[in-house]
């Protein structure tokens, strides 16, 4: 499956994921602590500068990914203009765009494999305590593999419906779709067991 990492290679792609995530946490915390308009404006300008430094294609893609925020910005903007608390509204709007922009920036410049490595490292203390994290690792891989496979199956079911009925595909298709998903789970479980199964740890939170 295609992750949201930007195909435009930047220098930040090579930086280790851990410090990038730690930096993002710190920056987000500071953003939510700062209530002054000039600070928020500067933070947004700096964020846009980071995007721009990665080139025009990267910048445009970054802006495109901020689009789902528009309805919220309109609501906040309209309400604060109407109630006369413009500055407060501007701070909320700027902070929102910067926080989401920075987080997207880390996602766009970090490969999926690097992110999964971070999960492995963060769960290392559990392994030292004797808790197996193999179920979690297998589950991550399974979902990544299954989403495109299940999407393709859903499409097939839709085509089968349209080949047999003049009526539009309705919600009824979800039942056979969910049934095939349940059967997938059984078959993959058998396949896992046939290959030695998950480490014979007692059942724990994955």
């Amino acid at each position: 499956m295609i992750s949201l990492t930007s195909p435009v290679r930047t220098r930040a792609h090579g930086w280790p994921a851990g410090p990038k995530l730690a930096g993002l946490c710190l920056a987000t915390l500071l953003l939510f602590l700062a209530d002054s308009l000039p600070v928020q404006a500067a933070a947004l300008a700096a964020t846009l500068g980071l995007y721009a430094a990665c080139g025009g294609v990267f910048l445009r893609e970054g802006l495109r990914r901020l689009r789902p925020l528009w309805p919220f910005l309109l609501i906040v903007g309209a309400f604060h203009l109407w109630s006369g608390r413009t500055e407060e509204g501007a701070v909320i709007v700027l902070r929102l765009v910067t926080a989401v922009g920075l987080a997207n920036l880390v996602t766009m410049t970090t490969r999926l494999g690097d992110m999964i490595d971070v999960v492995r490292r963060l769960t290392a203390p559990l392994r030292r305590l004797g808790v197996s994290t193999r179920p979690l690792e297998i589950a991550i891989g399974l979902v990544i593999r299954m989403v495109p496979a299940m999407f393709a199956r859903g499409r097939q079911l839709g085509e089968a419906w349209r080949a047999r009925s003049p009526r539009r595909v309705t919600w009824r298709i979800v039942l056979p779709f969910a049934l095939t998903a349940l059967d997938d789970a059984d078959r993959v479980a058998e396949a896992l067991r046939a290959r030695g199964g998950l480490t014979p740890a007692p059942e724990r939170e994955v």
């Binding site: 949201l4 925020l69 987080a103 999964i116 399974l142 349940l182 058998e190």
Partner: protein
């Protein structure tokens, strides 16, 4: 053990695929996606604990940068957006839904699953979502609740669907209904 893990993974994937179905737009311009139907089904089929685990796995993969949310959204940005409360509510919603289905045995499964979806997939989910809107947008409770209210008709319909689907799945694959492990023995 293996089957628990694969069912949890399959329902995380199912929730993602339901989010890929193009949204139906209601009369007043609110897009309704099937994603929250996935949240409800996680609870009604997998039960409280595994349903919540499936949702946690789903959110983890979203955070790692996979475009699993409706509209192909994902990445770390969605967790600081105003709608983040709804995401954080997914595991809780699945847990509450599953908890009710596991314990309330006196009524027909389809009805129980439908009502459980209303309590978990709507009431519990909205509580988190509305709290998120209040925090991110600086709104009061009634204002934030009004925003969430736009999604209520679609979600009520999905809760009804979740009930019907759960009953259908229980008939076709009684052994896979982890929320009622003894249903096929009865």
């Amino acid at each position: 053990m293996e089957r628990s893990v694969t069912l949890v993974a399959v329902f995380a994937a199912l929730t993602a695929v339901l989010g890929l179905i193009p949204p139906v737009t209601l009369g007043f311009g609110v897009p309704v996606t099937a994603q929250s139907l996935g949240v409800m089904l996680c609870g009604t089929v997998l039960g409280a604990r595994r349903g919540a685990l499936a949702m946690l796995l789903f959110l983890l993969l979203v955070a790692l940068g996979l475009p699993l949310l409706s509209g192909g959204r994902g990445g770390l940005g969605v967790f600081v957006a105003p709608s983040a409360g709804f995401l954080i509510g997914f595991p809780v919603a699945a847990f509450v839904t599953g908890w009710i289905v596991e314990r309330w045995r006196a009524a027909p499964l389809g009805l129980v699953a439908g009502i459980a979806s209303v309590v978990g997939g709507i009431a519990a989910l909205y509580a988190f979502g509305i709290a998120g809107l209040m925090l991110a947008l600086g709104r009061s409770l009634p204002e934030a609740a009004l925003l969430a209210l736009a999604f209520l008709p679609g979600d009520l319909a999905k809760a009804g669907l979740a009930g019907a689907l759960t009953a259908g799945l229980a008939r076709a694959r009684p052994g896979s209904l982890l929320s009622r492990p003894d249903v096929h023995a009865a």
